[in-house]
Symmetry: C2
Subunit: 287 residues, 2 copies
């Protein structure tokens, strides 16, 4: 399925990026631009055009939820190594729609209270309400990524979590949430260059965390943990999309497209009037 008037794709990008059985993360080239044969300048125009589409879809979705008993919403889950561009997706893709219809959660290291509950406790509370585009900047997947690499839980608990995640996401999709799971895939070299830039520019120091290098030194372990995540949790109802992200402009365009497809699938319509339009015109005129 190609979102309406998204003519700039040479192929069905969602199909190209979707994680299916037999997927091997190591085979993906983070520098590539699957389904897109234009350059960066072209992509800028295409992103702007897509932003207008996204904007209208989002408003219709929101409108519908205010009036009808619709339960539809979208949840974008963003996972990636540091500096892969999650923030840029939030800023340049999600940021193009009305903030009133967006529910963004940036999940940090769990608090003591959160740790006292099941790992999904804090996540479930942030599931988007009908009509909203929810965004998880990091998510429950941290609990099987850093959780696994850093052995923050026992192996059998980590094992249990994959199933718990699938059950949770099934409940979400059954309740009307379109779950779009995106891993932004940068190369180890690209990360080095981006972290180095943060160390060159005083206005970027705040984005640098010495801990990022510690995690970076476990790159292969993280990639193995991601591979397992894909094998265990890329389901029919909530598939993963691995988006090559060395070129930020490609990643943004691709994620925008995935959101457009989710919204196209919902196909939100302007709700009919729930009042007598003629009678209201008369009341208003007399007021």
């Amino acid at each position: 399925m190609i979102a309406r008037s998204q003519k700039h794709w040479s192929d069905d990008v969602a199909e190209l990026l979707r994680v299916r059985q037999g997927f091997v993360l190591a085979d993906v080239d983070p520098q590539s631009t699957p389904g897109y044969e234009h350059n960066k300048a072209h992509a800028k125009d295409d992103l702007a055009a897509g932003a207008e589409q996204l904007d209208e879809y989002q408003e219709r979705l929101f409108a519908q939820s205010r009036v009808d008993a619709t339960d539809a919403s979208v949840l974008l889950v963003l996972q990636a190594m540091d500096s892969a561009g999650k923030g840029g997706i939030v800023r340049h893709v999600v940021g193009s729609v009305d903030p009133q219809g967006v529910a963004l959660t940036a999940f940090k290291k769990p608090t003591e209270e959160e740790l006292a509950h099941d790992f999904l406790w804090r996540i479930e509370q942030r599931a988007p309400e009908p009509g909203f585009i929810g965004v998880f900047d990091r998510s429950h997947y941290e609990d099987v990524l850093i959780g696994r690499v850093r052995e923050l839980a026992a192996p059998d608990e980590i094992e249990r979590r994959y199933g718990a995640i699938n059950d949770f996401e099934k409940r979400l999709t059954d309740s009307g949430v379109r779950v779009v799971k995106v891993m932004l895939n940068i190369s180890r070299e690209e990360q080095k260059s981006r972290l180095a830039e943060r160390l060159e520019r005083p206005d970027k120091y705040w984005k640098y965390n010495p801990g990022d290098v510690d995690e970076r030194q476990l790159w292969d372990d993280y990639m193995a943990a991601y591979q397992t995540v894909f094998e265990r949790t890329s389901t029919e109802h909530a598939p993963w999309y691995v988006v090559p992200a060395n070129r930020k402009w490609y990643a943004r365009l691709a994620v925008q497209h995935l959101l457009l497809e989710a919204l196209e699938d919902i196909d939100p319509r302007w709700p009919a009037a729930t009042f007598d339009v003629a009678a209201e015109k008369a009341r208003l005129a007399a007021s």
Copy 2:
């Protein structure tokens, strides 16, 4: 004080719009554009230029809060009659900055649980954290506006609330929150025309609520309630600004300017590195 490089104002707009002793709401012309002598097209360019300033201030504020122990934040309180343009402010002014640094709350009719608590209970929970720009789309002022007009509480309780609001806002400002309170001031005729448009366009039906006409019929009561709000709660630490809003482009430019001034007052700086830059460069290079 004029925010840096905001050269398009002919006068100190914040001073012109600020509610001082002796302020009379009925004397404000909702069609006017205080401090601005250019036209709509010019305002569009000025808004775009201001958006860039706001963007950088917001990022610096956010950066500082992530690194230093700063407690600074901004809270924009938006109040107005229906259709006055609160949504447009959120969309076109606040929407120009990174959504990751914005905390928006749209206050609806209180729930049963909320009604079981003091009227400020639900409000206090939504005060912005350090580093954020908080936005209240409606607020605790509803409790002395519709609360007063519709007699939702006893007269002595309404009386009590003005003082409680001032105390609450003093606590906020003492804790580092810059409180910017804005009433978007449209004329009764302008509201009629905007509501009529919603009844003409099927893609606007969802924004129309027959209850809006009920409230509209109490226009004079609402204006009297606003007048009292201004007299009782426009304080030194948290003044009100009444923004003429018949011209949407003026209202957006003026509110953007008020936000810029609040941020200029905070004067957030890029935080210094909290790590040894040279050492981190070496660690990164070796990784």
